[in-house]
Protein backbone atom coordinates (compact mmCIF):
# COMPACT_ATOMS: atom_id res chain seq x y z
CA UNK A 1 0.00 0.00 0.00
CA UNK A 2 1.38 3.39 -0.94
CA UNK A 3 1.95 5.67 2.03
CA UNK A 4 0.49 9.15 1.47
CA UNK A 5 2.76 12.13 1.04
CA UNK A 6 1.49 13.65 4.29
CA UNK A 7 2.26 10.44 6.18
CA UNK A 8 5.75 10.24 4.70
CA UNK A 9 6.31 13.91 5.52
CA UNK A 10 5.21 13.35 9.12
CA UNK A 11 7.39 10.26 9.50
CA UNK A 12 10.43 12.07 8.13
CA UNK A 13 9.86 15.02 10.49
CA UNK A 14 9.49 12.60 13.41
CA UNK A 15 12.76 10.87 12.56
CA UNK A 16 14.60 14.20 12.50
CA UNK A 17 12.96 15.28 15.75
CA UNK A 18 14.01 12.07 17.49
CA UNK A 19 17.60 12.49 16.27
CA UNK A 20 17.92 16.12 17.28
CA UNK A 21 16.20 15.70 20.65
CA UNK A 22 18.45 12.79 21.51
CA UNK A 23 21.40 15.12 21.12
CA UNK A 24 20.08 18.55 22.10
CA UNK A 25 17.41 17.57 24.60
CA UNK A 26 13.68 17.19 24.85
CA UNK A 27 13.11 20.98 24.93
CA UNK A 28 14.47 21.32 21.40
CA UNK A 29 11.69 22.45 19.03
CA UNK A 30 10.33 19.68 16.84
CA UNK A 31 10.63 19.44 13.09
CA UNK A 32 7.41 20.20 11.27
CA UNK A 33 6.25 19.20 7.81
CA UNK A 34 4.37 21.47 5.43
CA UNK A 35 2.55 19.72 2.62
CA UNK A 36 1.03 21.15 -0.54
CA UNK A 37 -0.94 18.34 -2.12
CA UNK A 38 -1.13 20.06 -5.52
CA UNK A 39 2.68 20.15 -5.54
CA UNK A 40 3.24 16.48 -4.67
CA UNK A 41 5.92 17.91 -2.41
CA UNK A 42 6.60 18.90 1.16
CA UNK A 43 9.07 20.77 3.26
CA UNK A 44 10.45 19.75 6.64
CA UNK A 45 12.18 22.23 8.92
CA UNK A 46 12.27 23.15 12.55
CA UNK A 47 9.32 25.10 13.83
CA UNK A 48 10.23 27.90 14.38
CA UNK A 49 12.77 27.84 11.56
CA UNK A 50 15.21 30.12 13.39
CA UNK A 51 17.39 27.14 14.21
CA UNK A 52 18.67 24.86 16.91
CA UNK A 53 20.85 26.36 19.62
CA UNK A 54 23.84 24.24 20.61
CA UNK A 55 25.60 24.84 23.91
CA UNK A 56 28.87 24.04 25.64
CA UNK A 57 29.35 22.21 28.93
CA UNK A 58 28.55 25.38 30.90
CA UNK A 59 25.22 25.59 29.13
CA UNK A 60 26.29 28.66 27.18
CA UNK A 61 24.98 28.84 23.59
CA UNK A 62 27.91 28.62 21.18
CA UNK A 63 26.42 27.66 17.83
CA UNK A 64 23.10 27.74 15.99
CA UNK A 65 22.22 25.23 13.30
CA UNK A 66 19.31 25.47 10.91
CA UNK A 67 18.11 22.49 8.95
CA UNK A 68 15.75 22.51 5.99
CA UNK A 69 14.59 19.75 3.63
CA UNK A 70 12.46 20.11 0.52
CA UNK A 71 11.07 16.80 -0.66
CA UNK A 72 9.17 15.43 -3.62
CA UNK A 73 7.86 12.07 -4.72
CA UNK A 74 10.39 9.93 -6.57
CA UNK A 75 9.99 9.12 -10.26
CA UNK A 76 7.51 6.36 -9.43
CA UNK A 77 5.32 8.69 -7.29
CA UNK A 78 5.74 6.24 -4.45
CA UNK A 79 8.57 7.27 -2.13
CA UNK A 80 9.80 10.65 -1.01
CA UNK A 81 13.02 11.94 -2.47
CA UNK A 82 14.97 14.90 -1.14
CA UNK A 83 15.01 17.63 -3.77
CA UNK A 84 17.05 20.12 -1.73
CA UNK A 85 18.53 20.13 1.73
CA UNK A 86 20.43 22.67 3.72
CA UNK A 87 22.28 22.48 7.04
CA UNK A 88 23.82 25.78 8.10
CA UNK A 89 25.86 26.54 11.20
CA UNK A 90 26.15 30.02 12.70
CA UNK A 91 27.99 31.35 15.72
CA UNK A 92 25.82 32.33 18.67
CA UNK A 93 24.51 34.71 19.84
CA UNK A 94 24.60 37.10 16.91
CA UNK A 95 26.00 35.30 13.89
CA UNK A 96 24.39 36.48 10.68
CA UNK A 97 26.69 34.83 8.14
CA UNK A 98 27.11 31.05 8.37
CA UNK A 99 30.40 29.52 9.42
CA UNK A 100 29.71 26.80 6.88
CA UNK A 101 26.78 25.14 5.17
CA UNK A 102 26.11 21.72 3.75
CA UNK A 103 23.72 21.77 0.84
CA UNK A 104 22.20 19.29 -1.56
CA UNK A 105 20.46 20.22 -4.80
CA UNK A 106 19.19 17.19 -6.67
CA UNK A 107 19.13 18.91 -10.05
CA UNK A 108 22.12 21.17 -9.60
CA UNK A 109 23.75 22.87 -12.57
CA UNK A 110 26.42 20.66 -14.11
CA UNK A 111 29.17 22.99 -12.88
CA UNK A 112 28.17 22.65 -9.20
CA UNK A 113 28.35 19.40 -7.21
CA UNK A 114 24.86 18.32 -6.15
CA UNK A 115 26.09 17.70 -2.60
CA UNK A 116 28.52 20.33 -1.44
CA UNK A 117 29.85 22.23 1.52
CA UNK A 118 30.55 25.96 1.49
CA UNK A 119 32.83 27.59 4.06
CA UNK A 120 32.47 31.24 4.96
CA UNK A 121 35.44 33.35 5.96
CA UNK A 122 38.53 34.98 4.55
CA UNK A 123 41.38 33.10 2.96
CA UNK A 124 43.60 35.57 1.07
CA UNK A 125 45.77 32.90 -0.60
CA UNK A 126 42.73 31.03 -1.83
CA UNK A 127 41.06 34.21 -3.06
CA UNK A 128 44.21 35.09 -4.96
CA UNK A 129 44.27 31.61 -6.47
CA UNK A 130 40.67 32.09 -7.56
CA UNK A 131 41.56 35.44 -9.18
CA UNK A 132 44.52 33.81 -10.94
CA UNK A 133 42.55 30.75 -11.98
CA UNK A 134 42.37 29.39 -15.51
CA UNK A 135 39.60 30.12 -17.93
CA UNK A 136 38.80 26.64 -19.20
CA UNK A 137 35.22 26.75 -17.90
CA UNK A 138 32.62 29.55 -17.98
CA UNK A 139 32.48 29.44 -14.16
CA UNK A 140 36.22 29.97 -13.69
CA UNK A 141 36.29 32.55 -16.47
CA UNK A 142 33.47 34.50 -14.82
CA UNK A 143 35.63 34.91 -11.72
CA UNK A 144 38.53 36.31 -13.69
CA UNK A 145 36.26 38.82 -15.39
CA UNK A 146 34.58 39.79 -12.12
CA UNK A 147 31.17 38.40 -13.09
CA UNK A 148 31.26 35.93 -10.22
CA UNK A 149 32.38 36.64 -6.66
CA UNK A 150 35.89 35.72 -5.60
CA UNK A 151 35.50 34.45 -2.05
CA UNK A 152 35.84 31.27 -0.06
CA UNK A 153 32.05 31.08 0.32
CA UNK A 154 31.60 31.01 -3.45
CA UNK A 155 33.36 27.65 -3.74
CA UNK A 156 31.31 24.46 -3.66
CA UNK A 157 33.37 21.57 -2.25
CA UNK A 158 31.91 18.21 -3.36
CA UNK A 159 30.89 15.77 -0.64
CA UNK A 160 29.82 12.44 -2.10
CA UNK A 161 27.24 13.21 -4.75
CA UNK A 162 23.54 12.40 -4.50
CA UNK A 163 23.94 8.98 -2.88
CA UNK A 164 26.96 9.22 -0.59
CA UNK A 165 26.51 12.70 0.86
CA UNK A 166 26.83 13.37 4.59
CA UNK A 167 23.70 13.12 6.71
CA UNK A 168 22.49 15.38 9.51
CA UNK A 169 23.97 12.87 11.93
CA UNK A 170 27.45 13.44 10.48
CA UNK A 171 27.23 17.20 10.89
CA UNK A 172 25.89 16.86 14.43
CA UNK A 173 28.70 14.53 15.43
CA UNK A 174 31.30 16.83 13.90
CA UNK A 175 29.92 19.73 15.97
CA UNK A 176 30.20 17.62 19.11
CA UNK A 177 33.68 16.27 18.33
CA UNK A 178 35.26 19.45 16.94
CA UNK A 179 33.41 22.29 18.67
CA UNK A 180 32.76 20.61 22.00
CA UNK A 181 29.01 20.93 21.78
CA UNK A 182 27.59 19.28 24.89
CA UNK A 183 24.91 16.70 24.11
CA UNK A 184 21.91 16.31 26.42
CA UNK A 185 23.25 13.01 27.76
CA UNK A 186 26.77 11.62 27.79
CA UNK A 187 29.14 11.88 24.84
CA UNK A 188 29.10 8.09 24.58
CA UNK A 189 25.31 7.98 24.42
CA UNK A 190 25.29 10.72 21.77
CA UNK A 191 27.85 8.86 19.63
CA UNK A 192 25.82 5.66 19.93
CA UNK A 193 22.53 7.38 19.07
CA UNK A 194 24.05 9.13 16.08
CA UNK A 195 25.66 5.89 14.90
CA UNK A 196 22.31 4.10 15.09
CA UNK A 197 20.56 6.87 13.21
CA UNK A 198 23.38 7.06 10.65
CA UNK A 199 23.10 3.31 10.10
CA UNK A 200 19.38 3.74 9.37
CA UNK A 201 20.14 6.51 6.83
CA UNK A 202 22.92 4.52 5.16
CA UNK A 203 20.80 1.38 4.88
CA UNK A 204 18.23 3.47 3.03
CA UNK A 205 20.97 4.82 0.78
CA UNK A 206 22.35 1.30 0.17
CA UNK A 207 18.92 0.19 -1.05
CA UNK A 208 18.76 3.24 -3.30
CA UNK A 209 22.24 2.55 -4.70
CA UNK A 210 21.30 -1.08 -5.39
CA UNK A 211 18.44 0.25 -7.53
CA UNK A 212 20.98 2.49 -9.31
CA UNK A 213 23.36 -0.39 -10.05
CA UNK A 214 21.54 -3.74 -9.80
CA UNK A 215 24.20 -5.59 -11.83
CA UNK A 216 26.92 -4.55 -9.37
CA UNK A 217 24.66 -5.58 -6.48
CA UNK A 218 24.07 -8.99 -8.06
CA UNK A 219 27.82 -9.50 -8.59
CA UNK A 220 28.54 -8.61 -4.98
CA UNK A 221 25.81 -10.92 -3.66
CA UNK A 222 26.94 -13.79 -5.89
CA UNK A 223 30.52 -13.31 -4.65
CA UNK A 224 29.10 -13.75 -1.15
CA UNK A 225 27.43 -17.01 -2.19
CA UNK A 226 23.90 -15.82 -2.81
CA UNK A 227 21.90 -16.96 -5.78
CA UNK A 228 20.08 -14.12 -7.44
CA UNK A 229 17.39 -14.55 -10.06
CA UNK A 230 17.08 -11.58 -12.36
CA UNK A 231 13.66 -10.44 -13.57
CA UNK A 232 12.95 -10.35 -17.27
CA UNK A 233 13.64 -7.74 -18.45
CA UNK A 234 16.32 -6.91 -15.87
CA UNK A 235 16.02 -3.69 -13.86
CA UNK A 236 17.66 -0.81 -15.72
CA UNK A 237 20.86 0.78 -14.45
CA UNK A 238 20.67 4.43 -13.40
CA UNK A 239 24.03 5.37 -14.79
CA UNK A 240 23.31 9.08 -14.50
CA UNK A 241 23.03 8.79 -10.72
CA UNK A 242 26.34 6.95 -10.49
CA UNK A 243 28.06 9.56 -12.61
CA UNK A 244 26.45 12.61 -11.03
CA UNK A 245 28.88 15.29 -9.80
Amino acid sequence: MTVSLAEQAGAFADRLTRTIRTIVGQDCPAFAATVLEEASAFRVAQSPASGIILSNEAGEPILRMDVDYKCIYDEHDEYMAIEESQIRVFVEPKGCEPLFRYEFIRDAATSIPSAHVQFHGRHPDLEQAMKDSGSSTPRAKARITGQKPVSLAALHFPVGGPRFRPALEDVLQMLIEEFGVKPAGSIKAARTALAESREQWRRTQVATVVRDAPAAAVSALEALGYTVTAPNPPAPEKVEKLRAY
Binding site: A33, V35, L36, E37, E38, A39, R43, A45, D68
Partner: protein
Protein backbone atom coordinates in the same frame (compact mmCIF):
# COMPACT_ATOMS: atom_id res chain seq x y z
CA UNK B 1 19.95 6.39 23.11
CA UNK B 2 17.19 6.87 20.60
CA UNK B 3 15.05 4.33 22.43
CA UNK B 4 14.91 6.60 25.48
CA UNK B 5 13.62 9.56 23.48
CA UNK B 6 9.92 10.17 23.82
CA UNK B 7 8.01 9.58 20.60
CA UNK B 8 6.98 12.77 18.86
CA UNK B 9 4.24 12.62 16.27
CA UNK B 10 4.32 15.47 13.80
CA UNK B 11 1.03 16.55 12.31
CA UNK B 12 1.89 17.93 8.88
CA UNK B 13 0.40 21.29 7.99
CA UNK B 14 -1.48 20.69 4.79
CA UNK B 15 -1.88 23.82 2.66
CA UNK B 16 -3.78 24.68 -0.46
CA UNK B 17 -2.24 27.07 -2.97
CA UNK B 18 -4.38 29.91 -1.57
CA UNK B 19 -3.38 29.03 2.00
CA UNK B 20 0.29 29.10 1.05
CA UNK B 21 -0.01 32.50 -0.60
CA UNK B 22 -1.84 33.92 2.43
CA UNK B 23 0.82 32.46 4.73
CA UNK B 24 3.58 34.19 2.76
CA UNK B 25 1.74 37.50 3.13
CA UNK B 26 1.31 36.89 6.86
CA UNK B 27 5.00 36.08 7.30
CA UNK B 28 6.02 39.27 5.47
CA UNK B 29 3.77 41.33 7.74
CA UNK B 30 5.28 39.56 10.74
CA UNK B 31 8.85 40.35 9.74
CA UNK B 32 7.98 43.90 8.67
CA UNK B 33 9.89 43.85 5.38
CA UNK B 34 9.00 43.70 1.74
CA UNK B 35 9.69 40.43 -0.04
CA UNK B 36 12.51 41.98 -2.08
CA UNK B 37 14.10 43.59 0.96
CA UNK B 38 13.99 40.34 2.92
CA UNK B 39 15.56 38.37 0.05
CA UNK B 40 18.23 41.02 -0.61
CA UNK B 41 19.21 41.19 3.04
CA UNK B 42 19.13 37.40 3.26
CA UNK B 43 21.48 37.06 0.29
CA UNK B 44 23.83 39.58 1.95
CA UNK B 45 23.72 37.64 5.26
CA UNK B 46 22.30 40.63 7.11
CA UNK B 47 19.38 38.86 8.79
CA UNK B 48 19.20 37.71 12.40
CA UNK B 49 18.11 34.16 13.26
CA UNK B 50 14.39 34.95 13.49
CA UNK B 51 14.40 36.85 10.20
CA UNK B 52 16.35 34.03 8.54
CA UNK B 53 13.69 31.64 9.81
CA UNK B 54 10.93 33.71 8.22
CA UNK B 55 12.83 33.85 4.94
CA UNK B 56 13.35 30.07 5.07
CA UNK B 57 9.62 29.56 5.69
CA UNK B 58 8.76 31.80 2.74
CA UNK B 59 11.25 30.05 0.46
CA UNK B 60 9.81 26.71 1.53
CA UNK B 61 6.31 27.83 0.59
CA UNK B 62 7.54 29.30 -2.69
CA UNK B 63 9.19 25.99 -3.52
CA UNK B 64 5.87 24.22 -2.98
CA UNK B 65 3.94 26.81 -4.97
CA UNK B 66 6.38 26.57 -7.89
CA UNK B 67 5.95 22.79 -7.90
CA UNK B 68 2.16 23.16 -7.83
CA UNK B 69 2.21 25.61 -10.75
CA UNK B 70 4.54 23.36 -12.73
CA UNK B 71 2.20 20.41 -12.15
CA UNK B 72 -0.78 22.22 -13.74
Amino acid sequence: MISTTSQHKAQPRVFTVDDAQREIERLLREVGMSHDDLVTRGDAWELDAEQRGVLADIRGLEFLLARAHAAK
